[in-house]
Point group: none
Chain length 259, copies 2
DNA sequence: CATCGCACCT
DNA sequence: AGGTGCGATG
């Protein structure tokens, strides 16, 4: 059986909010390492990969591999019932029909329990090759979200160009063109503003802004987001969570005249 | 060419916000005196007139007359990308296809540049006669905005009556009637609350509240607003900006049974 | 159903 | 000033 207690129901809520528009149904794969999720979006352009390590729960118990096939719209409805600061306990039997979510107020004076029916989902398991990226950019989530939103007012696509000392986001659209240049910066007094570029080779790639704006719904999960780019491979947009847990989005670049 | 740097991108943002619902497209007329704009609203009831004097910019350079025909909805989208405290540089060539807006963060570690395509706009140039108004009322923006909003819940129109020692805003509607009386007041300790009436002749006129509410979007630009009235001529609603710059709205009174 | 824009509220 | 909730729209 599975029994996992999260201190902050909010975390699961934000994770699911960030992916529910990309993926309708998917398996939460549970084993003694934790709870993992991998899914492609409907149009097979983007891929979501979540890992919540066992350490992110206390306690965490999962005797054997269990795949919980869940409709994310149903899950969203249930998670809306979580109030901030509620703890969340996730429970399932070994061959479950349902998963149970229990929300407990801090003082334990309100306990809500929801069961969600499970579904069988045939999941192509996706091997994601480890890549040595040509460039990684770590920047504040809020800044990335702002850039994506601003540029999406002008165009469907953004070109991300990484150089050693800065990163440039640019787009062209019917009403005009836009670009945002961020210089790398580091400030020990305000590390939350850091923009850190790690580059082995300059790279410039073009991506759909609609997807990037969508990924940015995860902004509340972390202070920073890491963008990893290499020519001709999908962009990795990564949010680090506590205890080496993470939420990752992969997005294939646009090629040639698609832009 | 034109090159004009504003210390506060916010000012242009607020000006455009205040007029974008009245006017879709209009020319920004640039010359060595500054940047001016004049346009009638679609229904030809209201007129907007903006003047940003060269002194409001530092530096300001404009070698020859340039008319920048801009779609205000496009401009709004671009100005949304301005963050508070960003500086704004406006640039255009002498016979431009585009106008360039550059937003610079205070530390210069983020520079965003947007180009907006220009359009050809045939503009009837409007001579606005200088009028000696029968009454002028200077009052806090917030107070005027509040009055217009409150009365607009009751009626489409407001009657403004100026007397020597006070001004009365009143309306009648289906659910009842409303009126707000402001006595003139002056307080050296709180000049921001001043209500100053300058009157050569009592006057009472009726105006569309919808337009007045719209004009009040400019309230963030100034502490006070000046209302200038004379019988049978348009109301002037004036916001003074720094360096003798201003934003003015003119609104024709309603006559007779239109009220 | 999802997205967008506006207004309100904190 | 930013976030949230609502209403309207496609």
């Amino acid at each position: 059986m599975l029994e996992a207690r999260m201190q902050q129901a909010d975390v699961l809520k934000k994770v699911v909010d960030a992916i529910k528009d990309l993926v309708q149904d998917c398996n939460f794969d549970c084993n003694d390492a934790g709870i993992a999720l991998q899914a492609m979006d409907n149009s097979h352009v983007a891929l979501v990969s979540m890992m919540l390590k066992a350490d992110a729960f206390a306690p965490f118990r999962c005797d054997r591999n269990i795949a919980l096939g869940i409709n994310l719209s149903s899950l969203t409805k249930v998670l809306r019932a979580a109030q901030s600061n509620d703890e969340l306990v996730i429970k399932a039997e070994d061959a479950p029909d349902v998963v149970s979510l229990t929300f407990e107020s801090a003082e334990q004076d309100r306990i809500s329990e929801y069961d969600i029916k499970l579904m069988d989902i045939d999941q192509e398991h996706l091997g994601i090759p480890e890549t040595d990226y040509a460039a990684t950019v770590k920047l504040p989530c809020a800044e990335f979200q702002r850039i994506c939103r601003d540029l999406s007012a002008l165009s469907e696509s953004v070109t991300i160009e990484c150089a050693k000392d800065g990163v440039k986001f640019s787009c062209q659209g019917d009403i005009g063109a836009g670009s945002v240049n961020l210089r790398s910066r580091q400030d020990v007094d305000k590390p939350e503003n850091d923009v850190i570029i790690d580059l082995s080779e300059p790279v410039a790639l073009t991506f759909s802004l609609k997807y990037l704006v969508n990924f940015c719904k995860a902004s509340g999960l972390s202070k920073h987001v890491k963008l990893c780019l290499s020519a001709e491979v999908p962009l990795l947009v990564q949010y680090e969570l506590l205890n080496q847990s993470h939420l990752r989005f992969y997005l294939a670049p646009k090629i040639g005249d698609e832009e």
